[in-house]
Subunit: 680 residues, 3 copies
């Protein structure tokens, strides 16, 4: 279901100010401010060490104030000023949010939700993902932008749209219904295949004509889950189509400039199948924001970084947006703690970013995002934030040479957006099982052990990893099953957590005992699921405590590692292993957390022979980036106590040489350009 | 408001495989599986001891793949196979869920909610309860089915629609508005009567023309409560009309086959006035599912069984659906505990079922219900569930003779769906007061004492019961008041809990002091309600603790049993009794639970002279079914400790003779065919 | 933004039965009851000491049973009866709720919510605030009423509509969209001014034509906050326009009768800018209901009273509605505690009411409000409630002379409804910050200290107050800033709490450091907000504990009073003071409650020289009303312990002379007509 591996990414070093440099930049919205401020802005950008800004993301209503009349001069003026100041431009096509005149003339371009409610203007991104009217208008603006600015010397990268699917990831209007039917006609050989895939023999849902098929609009009950799953695929593809329409006009008009659109690889956005999108990018870029109430939010950041690197197939990527401090869209929006902005930025680099962008240059004076932090707060330059920005700028300068180096990992965690779309529906055994929770918990446990992991699609070649993890990978198509089997046969250990491999790509159960797709590989057979109620816990005979899930499991070729110690499943295996063909296949039938999970992971990685690059206390993240320019050891202390780590080289955050032992304060971070005899 | 007592039910023993046998069956959806599996299915059904299956419930889109073209041959093939295997058929008319072509051609058949949102296809049962188009199409299918299969030798029972009102119990479309006005024209002599009944003099709601009346669609405030109440009545009647239209065509085409539709007598479905429906059934059938998070869920099962028996006027009934293990529609769906499936099945028999049906034969591979348990799980026959099914099949065989015996009870608990529709609205003194909570709590307390109860409509003849319970029976029409009074005058004790008899059948307050309808009978007068806030408790001077409710009560002819011990109502009576005309009338002005309620109930039943059929520990349910074939003592141990009970006869669960003392494990159950000298 | 100071209120003493008397009355809905009861009603009213009733509020469908046909005779009959009984009439125009025929003929008069859902009839007040059809019909009815009853001798006051904006405070239909554009055309010089004020340069929201502007209907994201703010202003003004249309016809037809409409000055209604409405009233009237679950509900009552007095510019006002006991619209509706009805009534008088009205005379028998308490409960006159009503009637008689006296206060708390509309939107730093919470907490702390406060609009002249409080006054226009500065320069102390003066009247941030509007006055500069998560607390070095909010604050000309004792802001000032120009300016950067707030307030009032009129225990409310007729000391014991207070005069609640020490029971209240040598 994923696209082919991308051609190697196109050179985008202009954005970074040079091949070996790390990029530093931000969204810049000069149209919100008086012209008189613009030169001062460029001066301050230079002082802060910025290499690029992103222009024009939300400027359509100014760039095309009325249909067909383009007013691009003010933007040209800004680009000239930036070029004069040595700042490169990531130029948006400006199509993220249509202007009021579009929906005024064409209300049918406004998206409609499952309930049939139209979304009105007043916010942003109010456009239907199938709308041909929107597409034509967006392509026309992209073409005007390309024609005018395609050879501007400041132009380093095209930025198509913005955060596709943020807010408008789905639409259920009649235009979408028609497009969906068209998509289905391409996805299935005939209507009988669709009826079979969706299981329409039940609930009297059999379609006699494709014209009868609709989006999964609000029904009296949960909608057919296979229909819902296909609709999620369709929406992702329809938005991808909108992206490609703009990208193609840019490639035609100015073929030498690389093109990207900024993804949102973060925990609360899973609506697009980025594996299908990534191969269409000249460089993968993404946005990341922390959620204040999320437990272990910085582990989520690390996971998202590894996922982004996976999308980029290991190549460097652009962090297009993150925040200097608070955001504005949570119920309560705390400021970042002292040192946190730097730590977050370093963490993104550790996971493969070669450029760090922020939203935005100046905090807005009005509108919905005015309380989103920026590089320049409302209070101006005499502020902690601005001083931290300057500090980051100087660190980025010292990191010259890091660009282009790579992270290498011995562990692969499988990730498939569509498996999540299948799982996170109603009518499942337990709504407490959410896609990604186990993957992230295992990733976080590895991080605490100092182990780097790749987060990759199951269709990717997995052979060569010491350990492959399928964490509650509910849906597996045959290709994924083959890929996992191939890796195991080639010597990879395998760790599978509960409720993996249950269904195929149409959400059809693989019969004969769970987990149908992986049953033989693991040597077990599960008769029945025993999900636990909220708050319910089950004790294992190795002292661990499971939550969320248990199941009535029978050993076939596997051995029990731990068993339930009480309750109706007492004596039934909760964790199993099967050693065969030189590889160990672990199965975890319940949900462990904290020390229980850490102990389990210790056992698994020890067996797989996976080790951290350097010794350190539990909770210290350790990542190495290596390349022609050398080897960089990233250390991030996620504990609140000082820790000591052996290191040799130049520590670039403090700009001090280290020879022997490095002390990291609680919450501190370090980047050691390792002396050559120490590079891994 | 209820229908007349039904003619005695028609013979439906073919479904059970014989007059004296208990039926065992399930929904069977062969269209979900390859033809090759069908013969194997019938073999396994025989092995399990099934006597019937229900066919075709959700098959409309296959039975009539396009308008007017019927494809019934595959179903005939299945019926032939079943007949050859000795399995009887409960044949659905197939009209539960219309096919996609119906709403594609006639979107006006889709239901509309209070907010004006249309429900789209993709789920099930998406049809407007007033739709003449739906009715015509459903009747046409029913006629085609009757014509084709009316004399098929496997046919034992007609199953019209399915779970009427599940999901589509109300619709607010313009067609319904018109039907509602028609219904009102029949329900009220003239518009002034309607205006008076609804109290339209307030809030400027007086109707000058019936054409102005609408369903209680979403308003800015709660809608007129009398209008809401009448709309609930109208919806129940409109659905009943749909049932009757199909039933009548079946009776016309094949007059010898009994007809039913499966009710849903369970706690979370109260949308139809089944007392009006029951008299139209040839045999009452129902579905029952446990709710995992419900406190004392098996007491709810027992209550629902007694309610179903009440609907059947004491005659045996069919449990059409329950589950072998988990369902799929709760947030978390736990498996049934070991032994629970058997205990639940026995409990349904204890409350009067003569047939036990399950949903469904094979667990589906796809669709919304694929994680609903079945007789044949995804994992196949080598499973706990299948072994338990076989065990149940052999028990059912041993129960030959039980069919046709009756439960007799000395306690009547009053139940009126419409009283619940009146109560469970906004703008009441307390939303913590929910219809049925006190009735079920009292029923559960009786069960713990081993006392059987009938759950009956207040219009039923109540004379002869030793105890009549009106539990928070908010609304009472004059006929109900007369019925209760008649019973008391004839010697029945009476127990009334708070907030009973407050309004008439139009939700108009009975003036002069609460509880207006029962004030004189009870000898009290309540000045004012003092509902308690969530979590608030009030201590009584007998040591009990009340919740939810209290009130400022004055004694007239009654005596205080207990009084509030503190707070603003200190000294005011909380429980009262009035002894007069040889009967005791109890009043409970607050909500008791647990041991407090048990103590109160002990006092009431001792006074009424009601006793359990055998002595046993508190918490052991004891029910006797008797008839020409003898007497059966059902024992269900709802505690988790072993208990001993005196018994003489053959214990059929274990198939052992018992003579003296029977030991029931915690959670265990027994059915003793009593030796003749022991039958009660 | 507020209207001009009103002309002095018109004489409304007829409602009170005389110039010096306090009014006592209730809503009277005789149309709900048989004609035979009416004379008995008037007799009972006289017995209870009522001086007025409000008639006809919800009677439109009876007064005009079909379009253009008026049926006013029954109402005339009631008025005659009342007049004969000496009861004055507050006559409603009857336009609060339109009759069914209006929406039947004109569905476009039904309001539409943000989601586009029309509100249907069945409740009350279902009319669109911009509807010209509704307006014409309402004016016609008002004119008919005025023509018929304008010179009726019972008529004492006109009561236009009812609780404007209750339920229909906003509508988003196309008619409203058109009216909104018209309103904007009057509010802004041109479209560029609107674009600038709303910050439409962001998110591509720039309007090229006024015709593109819409109400802030449901969007995919929060709508533009300045648009939302202006829409709230527009809605308030549109409803005011509806009021004025009726008022003007009344003034034209019967110019001698004063006119009012009843406001809702209570915590959960903030949808109208009553400061703009108040100046259009001949006498300010309001409704007040307690909320059972509100912490410190009676402090909220006191605050609302002071706010109402502020709206009346210090003149006496009418409490049009409150309740004798329970209301019906909460989830649980407890009865009033013994003594509470009297205490609440006295409290309203203490805050400036000269008339006390209740909803309603008889508890309704049917409809949504049937469980709302009344003067005459369902149980009749032999009830606690009726006896309490009689007791209140006799107290009111003894209060002859109180009418026309005034409360005077040395503290002003600023209140601006529009500041709340700006603050209580999404995309703020913290949704825990709600407009009014700090103002009410400070008001309650003053009350516990026995200090009276005025609650006034910031545009009012503030000079002369000893202390001015701007409590989380998020938005301040320039005029407000000038007003505050003028008062401080004239010697008033100033207390500002966090998140005040952040934006201007368009919700545009005042740049350069927070709080932009008051930064210089306070001598501080806030760099960044540090809102606290739910439940998070921060310790101050004076032992207090802050919640909800903290911030990174720098002292400029101010001194720290207390600092954060731990955490990332350790050492940063949490409370500051600046003494300059003979006045002290306090700043409180976090949220204090309970004893911490009391201690802080003690310090502030001591510094300002503000003192209670008499010494008493903490928690005893003390208010003095004075006038030509003498001085009245109101004492309300909000604690549950008896307290002693020095007093000289006649205590009117008990009708006893007091000379020396008065003892107030817990929850007790007193009104002392002070001997002349003791009056303050």
């Amino acid at each position: 279901m994923t696209g082919e591996p991308p051609a190697r990414q196109r050179d985008w070093s202009a954005l970074r100010g040079g091949r070996t440099r790390i990029g530093l930049g931000c969204d810049y919205n000069p149209e919100q401010w008086p012209r008189e401020l613009w030169p001062q802005d460029v001066d301050l950008m230079r002082q802060a060490g910025l290499t690029f800004v992103t222009l024009g993301v939300f400027s359509w209503s100014l760039l095309e104030p009325e249909p067909g009349r383009f007013d691009l001069d003010w933007l040209g003026e800004v680009m000239d000023l930036l070029h004069a100041g040595g700042i490169a431009v990531d130029l948006a096509t400006g199509t993220a949010s249509p202007p009021p005149w579009l929906s005024h003339r064409h209300p049918e371009t406004l998206p409609v939700d499952r309930d049939g409610r139209r979304a009105w203007p007043g916010g942003r991104q109010a456009w239907c993902l199938s709308s041909p009217v929107f597409r034509d208008r967006a392509v026309a603006l992209a073409e005007a932008m390309a024609t005018r600015f395609g050879d501007h010397p400041a132009l380093a990268l095209w930025h198509v749209g913005n955060e596709y699917g943020c807010h408008n990831a789905a639409c259920y209007c009649d235009t979408c219904a028609e497009s969906f039917r068209h998509w289905l006609a391409g996805a299935y050989p005939d209507l009988e295949a669709l009826n079979a895939a969706w299981g329409t023999a039940f609930w009297s849902q059999r379609y006699g004509d494709l014209a009868q098929v609709l989006p999964p609009r609000r029904a009296l009950t949960p909608s057919n889950p296979s229909q819902v799953l296909d609709y999620a695929r369709f929406c992702s593809d329809a938005l991808l189509g909108q992206f490609l329409a703009e990208r193609d006009v840019l490639r035609r008009v100015c073929p030498d400039v690389p093109v990207t659109t900024n993804f949102m690889t973060l925990n609360h956005f899973r609506d697009l199948d980025y594996h299908r999108w990534a191969s269409e990018q000249d460089v993968v870029s993404t946005d990341h924001y922390l959620v204040a109430t999320q437990v272990d939010a910085e582990a989520e950041l690390a996971f998202s970084g590894d996922l982004t690197r996976g999308l980029a197939r290991g190549e460097p990527w652009v962090l297009m947006e993150h925040s200097t401090s608070a955001v504005n869209w949570q119920p309560v929006n705390p400021a970042k703690q002292p040192g946190q902005m730097l730590r977050n930025a370093v963490s993104h680099l550790a996971h493969g970013a070669d450029a760090l962008g922020f939203f935005q240059w100046r905090a807005s004076q009005a509108g919905t995002e005015k309380y989103h932090s920026a590089l320049l707060p409302h209070a101006g330059t005499d502020t902690r934030i601005w001083r931290d920005v300057m500090r980051l700028g100087s660190l980025v300068e010292r990191l010259d040479g890091l660009a282009g180096t790579r992270v290498s990992a011995e562990v692969a965690i499988l990730w498939d957006y569509a498996a999540g779309w299948a799982l996170n529906q109603p009518s499942q055994p337990s709504e407490l099982v959410r896609y990604g929770d186990e993957a992230q918990a295992l990733h976080a446990a590895l991080l605490r052990h100092g182990i780097a992991a790749d987060v990759v699609h199951p269709h990717q070649d997995l052979t060569g990893y010491r350990l492959v993890i399928a964490a509650t990978l509910y849906a597996c198509d045959d290709r994924a099953v083959r890929g996992i089997s191939d890796a195991v046969r080639a010597g990879s250990d395998l760790l599978v957590t509960y409720y993996s491999g249950i269904v195929d790509e149409h959400d059809r159960v693989r019969l004969g005992g769970y987990p149908g797709a992986l049953r033989d590989l693991l040597g077990i057979r599960v008769e029945e699921f025993w999900p636990l109620l909220p708050g319910e816990r089950v004790l294992l005979d190795d002292g661990a405590t499971g939550g969320i899930w248990s199941e009535d499991l029978r050993l076939e070729q596997a051995a029990a590692v731990a068993r339930y110690a009480h309750g109706p499943l007492a004596g039934v295996p909760a964790t199993t292993r099967r050693d065969a063909d030189g590889a160990t296949r672990w199965y975890l039938a319940t949900s462990l957390r904290g020390e229980d999970l850490d102990r389990f992971v210790s056992m698994v990685i020890a067996q797989a022979g996976v080790e951290a690059p350097v010794d350190a206390a539990h909770g210290v993240e350790r990542v190495v980036r290596t390349g022609e320019s050398g080897s960089y050891l990233f250390l991030i202390n996620h504990t609140d106590r000082p820790v000591q780590v052996a290191a040799h080289g130049v520590e670039l955050v403090s700009a001090h040489r280290v020879d022997g032992t490095l002390t990291l304060a609680g919450g501190g971070c370090a980047v050691v350009r390792q002396s050559s005899n120490e590079s891994s």
